[in-house]
Amino acid sequence: MRINLRTLSIASVVMIAASLALVFFYAPLDADQGFIQKIFYLHVPLAIVALSGFVIGGLHAIRHLHTGDRLHDARSYVSIHLSVIFGVGVLLTGAIWAKASWGKWWVWDEPTLVSFLIVFLLYATYYPFRYAIEDPERQARYASVFAITAGAFVPLNFLAVRLAENLVHPRVLATAEGGMPAKMWLTFLVSISGMALLWATLVRFELTAKSASAQLARLRRALEPGRPERRAPVPARAAPTIAGGAE
């Protein structure tokens, strides 16, 4: 978290540009799937980064409960937030891939994609859950408990969905498990690094924006002490009238 936003941005631009170049000009065509397989370099890194982001959100949540420092809650929130956005990408690219491979926009017998949908549905409830709790301190704590609970849910859910499949259909990523050519591996690794860097950049960006808003609110309070605050549940009263009157 110490690399600055600019360095991070440049690194992700370079990495993503490199991965696009590798995907379209370097990686060999897949023997089974042909050109369609190029979606793999987008869909799978998105999914892995989104899931890792959910887990990172859970880890920040543990640190928040452990230390009581609200900064960790902000990190947990932003991690989950960006992973949800990436999650939308996972589901959409997954649907496109399914359509191209099987002629249907959705297939229920692809356990990884189904698991991801369930995980996504759970994390989508993070927002209404969080914003239904008014007291900001309590909101942060409850959101952390949610993040930890959901983090424990992720592997369990993958296990259950995987077992529910009777493994009739070969998995799409069978090539990835078997002998994926070295050129594909390299392309995949560069793609996933680019995606991870993009995620980290956006997390930093969002955190900076949040911090800017908070500093702005602070400035406003300092400049206009009497004015009711917008987001405070109870408006601040007028300036004290009796201070010093106790002689």
Binding site: I148, L156, A164
Partner: protein, 233 residues
């Protein structure tokens, strides 16, 4: 220091006190249980016409039974912490020299009792309505018990948070439903062969029970670890 620190009330004593209090309240007012049972029976009738079937077996039977029980359970889960929130129980319990986990344990146990009572009514009704024989009921009880533990654990945890929010009745189903999907997958996986028309089968029964047990264990542990933070202010 003049006074010695009073000893902490034993966990068992606090746990039993809260559980007994909850069950006594429910027996006296019957706020949750009749509603849950009535909901389940009505849902069966609706499935009868919605599916246009008078007999159910296999995956359809497992799905109807488990979905109905889950939605009926949510009625009880919604209410399990309401008295603590609205009548000051959270404060009273936090002022007492007890391990706060006793509160979570008692609520999980109370929910478990509610769920078992619900199933005592709903499962025989389901068998009478839709099944040809009562043979699957005994193994089904094991599946339901394990599913109930997981449902009570996650339900109590989510309910304890939802009750302190603006949208209590909305949050419990919203968050709980995706959270119990693995539980439903495993319970349905185990129940489906049990409810086959040709008599109960035990295909992958052990695997599914293991998944249910794992789910129960994980969420009991998460609740145990996290619950203290939910009571702080």
């Amino acid at each position: 220091m003049s006074a010695a620190t009073p000893a902490e009330t034993p966990f068992r004593e606090a746990f039993l006190a809260i559980l007994a209090k909850d069950l006594r309240s429910e027996l006296r007012t019957l706020r949750s249980l009749p509603a849950m049972a009535l909901f389940a029976i009505t849902a069966f009738v609706i499935f009868r016409f919605g599916l246009d079937r008078t007999k159910l077996s296999g995956s359809l039977a497992a799905g109807v039974l488990l979905a109905t029980l889950l939605f009926a359970a949510i009625l009880g889960i919604n209410r399990i912490f309401v008295a603590e929130r609205e009548e000051g129980g959270f404060d009273a319990i936090r002022l007492a020299p007890i391990d706060r986990t006793a509160l979570l344990g008692a609520k999980i146990s109370a929910l478990l009792v509610y769920l078992l009572a619900l199933e005592l009514v709903a499962v025989p009704a389901f068998a009478i309505f839709f099944l040809d024989s009562a043979a699957p009921l005994a193994p089904l009880a094991i599946v339901l018990l394990l599913a109930d533990i997981g449902l009570a654990a996650t339900g109590a945890l989510i309910s304890s948070m939802a009750v302190n929010s603006r949208a209590r009745d909305l949050l419990v189903p919203l968050v709980l439903l995706p959270l119990v999907v693995p539980l439903m997958i495993a319970a349905a996986g185990a129940a489906e062969p049990l409810l086959e028309a040709g008599g109960p089968g035990y295909e992958r029964f052990g695997t599914w029970l293991a998944v249910l047990g794992l789910y129960d264990l994980i969420f009991l542990l998460v609740g145990y670890a996290a619950f203290d933070f939910l009571l702080e202010d």
